[in-house]
Symmetry: none
Subunit: 164 residues, 2 copies
Amino acid sequence: MNRSRRLTLVAQLLGGKRFSSQEELVKALARAGVEVTQATLSRDLRSLGVLKRHDGEGRATYELSGPAVETLDRERRLLDLKAFVNDVRVAQNLAIVRTPPGHANGVARAIDLAEFQGVMGSVAGDDTVLVVMQDAVLARKLKKRLDAIGATGVDHSANGGSAR
Amino acid sequence: MNRSRRLTLVAQLLGGKRFSSQEELVKALARAGVEVTQATLSRDLRSLGVLKRHDGEGRATYELSGPAVETLDRERRLLDLKAFVNDVRVAQNLAIVRTPPGHANGVARAIDLAEFQGVMGSVAGDDTVLVVMQDAVLARKLKKRLDAIGATGVDHSANGGSAR
DNA sequence: CACGGCCCCGCATAATTATTCATCCTGGGG
DNA sequence: CCCCAGGATGAATAATTATGCGGGGCCGTG
């Protein structure tokens, strides 16, 4: 198992579930067949630009750096769309995009920056992005585009549970 | 020194300089005349929703993840409308308001509080507020009002209903 | 005034995360 | 083949952050 493969896996795990400590993540990696120590993981998280946030009263969550960071290259945005769009539904001129917990923001930004035709704006919650489209036709077109991007790869099945 | 004052100060400090550990922040607070222990600060950071991220190579940074202050008075909210509404678009009966990252919530509250005519409710993401209006006409009117406020001063003649 | 409930805080300490140091590989030269 | 440089990693440990517990202050009630 080489390092960059491991980094990818870590990113995927973060996308799929909420982790509140590095030890948790170490165990998840172990279950996925990758054994590393917390020390290594700490280094990995740093190079991935992962951040730790406290949601409300209580537990911490590791998240891949979202929109706020400058390090948002095209590469990364595409990854967001590819890896973290779970489902897209359309209602009138609105598109509802489901993501793993905590990734709505990143996906929303990715959608904004991708400048799909007809996007008026989007609002991100925790695991849902609401995209307002100019009209129903363009909304359906957006869904197709996103579905297509998601179909092209990125394995989501790496870990066990989902948090919501 | 009252707690919420301290929280405000912490938020200001975070906005002005990079801090990479709570101890640093504790010292900065001390210089500003507020003495607290790291324990208290840890709790403060949590309630402010502050996050810690690692920039590129090396050091960590604490950042606010949302609106800096939690107790906003009316004065302040109107300021939000003036300063943080970047753009307003209308689609059907919805208004999409863009703000600087992290200010959507503040702006949303400000909109609710201003009680513009026809506002049914609003949802805030990170940098976007979705305002649901009674109908398209009122939505367009809202856009005009917000545009006007942004261009000039604060408009005090708002009226109407809000839901939230 | 006494009492109970709350909230906030500091202290001490537990829990978590980052780093230091020693290895172990790997890939060139020489 | 031998040696060196660089990168990655684990083990141990330092540094940082979170928290259990108890104390103190502040109401509202009886």
